[in-house]
């Protein structure tokens, strides 16, 4: 065993390698941002489907969540990149195939699908957590049903849902690294690229790792602060999140 590695930080400073890293950071943010937004939209749709009184909306949504929750994100990425255009009509598929940014789009959509199932679960639990007692209390104060939602129930649900959503967002940010398998030039891809061109990937990977950690910690602490501010009226979100039906493996 011998630690012979001599760090050579000039590798990262060389402009072509530095550009890989900078573009990588940009792509990582783009993927994380858009897939988070899209996944929240997907989550809202699925959650309202599962909560809707119409039976024909409930079971497809529940079944979808039951299945999709068990399918790896990296599978979705490869599926959307290689297979999805194939099952479309030929003309549309070939447009997607030949579109230069399709890898990026496929990555974003795949991550949104993956994250969306989790988000829908979180939202659904948030709404369910508003006990019927609170609804009745809101009703008994004479609020209209719109007022009930806007003034009482939605803020309450937000407070319950926010910590779990923040957690998922960090997770999604980290998952953006999976897009490297289809050649999206994000940060993890950049570290591998530098490794393969210069044989000095350790420095680049170290920088990338620190970047991921710092961003996650910053986001974590921001969401924590926000949570504390919202929790001036304390509601036990923990009880809700420990519900067995929720599949968020976080604290």
């Amino acid at each position: 065993m011998e630690f012979t590695y001599e760090f050579d930080w000039s590798v990262i400073a060389r402009h072509e390698y530095r550009d890989y890293l900078l573009y990588g950071v940009a792509y990582t943010f783009i993927i994380a941002f858009f897939s988070t937004i899209l996944s929240i939209l997907i989550g809202i749709v699925i959650a309202s489907g599962r909560l809707s009184p119409v039976k024909y909306f409930v079971w497809p949504c529940s079944a979808w969540v039951g299945v999709a929750r068990h399918i790896p994100a990296v599978f979705w990425i490869l599926f959307f990149y290689f297979v999805f255009p194939e099952i479309l009509p030929d003309s549309l598929g070939s447009i997607l195939h030949s579109w230069g940014s399709y890898a990026l789009l496929a990555g974003i959509v795949a991550l949104s699908i993956d994250n969306g199932t989790y988000v829908s679960d979180i939202l659904r639990n948030g709404v369910l957590a508003i006990s019927s007692g609170e609804r009745e209390a809101a009703k008994s104060c004479g609020l209209t049903s719109k007022q009930q939602w806007v003034c009482c129930l939605l803020p309450l649900a937000t407070r319950i849902v926010l910590p779990a959503l923040a957690n998922r967002t960090i997770h999604n940010f980290k998952n953006s690294s999976l897009c490297m398998v289809i050649g999206v030039t994000e940060l993890t891809w950049a570290t591998q690229q530098i490794e393969s061109l210069s044989f000095r990937g350790l420095e680049a990977t170290l920088v990338a790792t620190i970047f991921y950690i710092v961003i996650s910690l910053i986001f974590g602490s921001v969401s924590h602060k926000m949570e504390n501010r919202l929790n001036s009226c304390r509601y036990s979100a923990k009880d809700v999140l420990n519900k067995p039906s929720l599949s968020v493996p976080t604290t």
Partner: protein
């Protein structure tokens, strides 16, 4: 009904195509879950009750691992750890190390949450009857904490199993990799290969979910026991 049309899925990969690859996924998920748990308990305890330095180290370890993407962790263990320690690590082992580290950090947080969700009143009551600190821990905190963390642990087990799909990037021929090989060899049956892969993950994932659910119900302490 003949399954000949699926036979192309039975070739390529360890030892006999995707079904064999799935075994690698399951084996890795199970072993890394257990190994991770073994590391997680002391980590959680250090973070909760360790001294200043050891507590900080545990916290740093957990937070660093939790904020590093799994695929990057995998590259660390596969490409970079060998450079640092100078020992050659086969892909399967580096996947094992990465997943164990990953699951130990996540499970440490689950364990911590489980332990701290034990009602403080019960801990006090135990102390008040004269149980020593370690006795309180063994008799009250551990049994209750373990039960309280089962839902989170179960869903983490599912997500860990899912995450084993990533290991194909370092060349382990698991379900994902062997499915991809099958798809590459038969491009016209690509959709079927992908569906088989998805089904493999979904079915096993559901079984794990089910086991977790059963375990949760069994450990539920509101159950009534008929006296002998």
């Amino acid at each position: 009904m003949s399954l000949d049309w699926l036979s192309f899925m039975m070739i390529g990969g360890w030892p006999d195509g995707p079904p064999g690859g799935l075994l690698i996924n399951i084996g890795l998920a199970v072993s890394c879950f257990l190994m991770g748990f073994i590391f997680a308990v002391p980590l959680a305890l250090l973070r909760m009750a360790g001294g200043r330095i050891s507590g900080f180290c545990a916290t740093a370890f957990i937070e660093v691992l939790r904020s590093t993407p799994l695929i990057l962790l995998l590259f660390w263990c596969h490409f970079l750890l060998p450079i640092i320690i100078g020992i050659n690590i086969p892909p399967l082992w580096s996947a094992f190390i990465a997943l164990t580290l990953y699951s130990s950090a996540y499970q440490a947080e689950i364990v911590r949450a489980g332990f701290s969700s034990v009602p403080s009143g019960e801990v006090e009551a135990a102390q008040a009857t004269g149980l020593s600190k370690s006795q309180v821990f063994i008799n009250i905190v551990i049994p209750q904490g373990l039960r309280r963390m089962t839902p989170a642990s179960a869903s983490f087990a599912v997500s860990l199993f899912k995450d084993t799909a990533v290991i194909y990037v370092v060349g382990v021929i698991d379900l994902m990799q062997s499915g991809l090989i099958a798809a590459e060899r038969n491009p016209n049956k690509m959709l079927i290969s992908y569906l088989v892969m998805a089904a493999g993950f979904a079915v096993v994932g559901m079984v794990i979910s089910l086991i977790g659910y059963k375990l949760e119900n069994r450990l539920n302490f509101t159950r009534k026991v008929v006296s002998e």
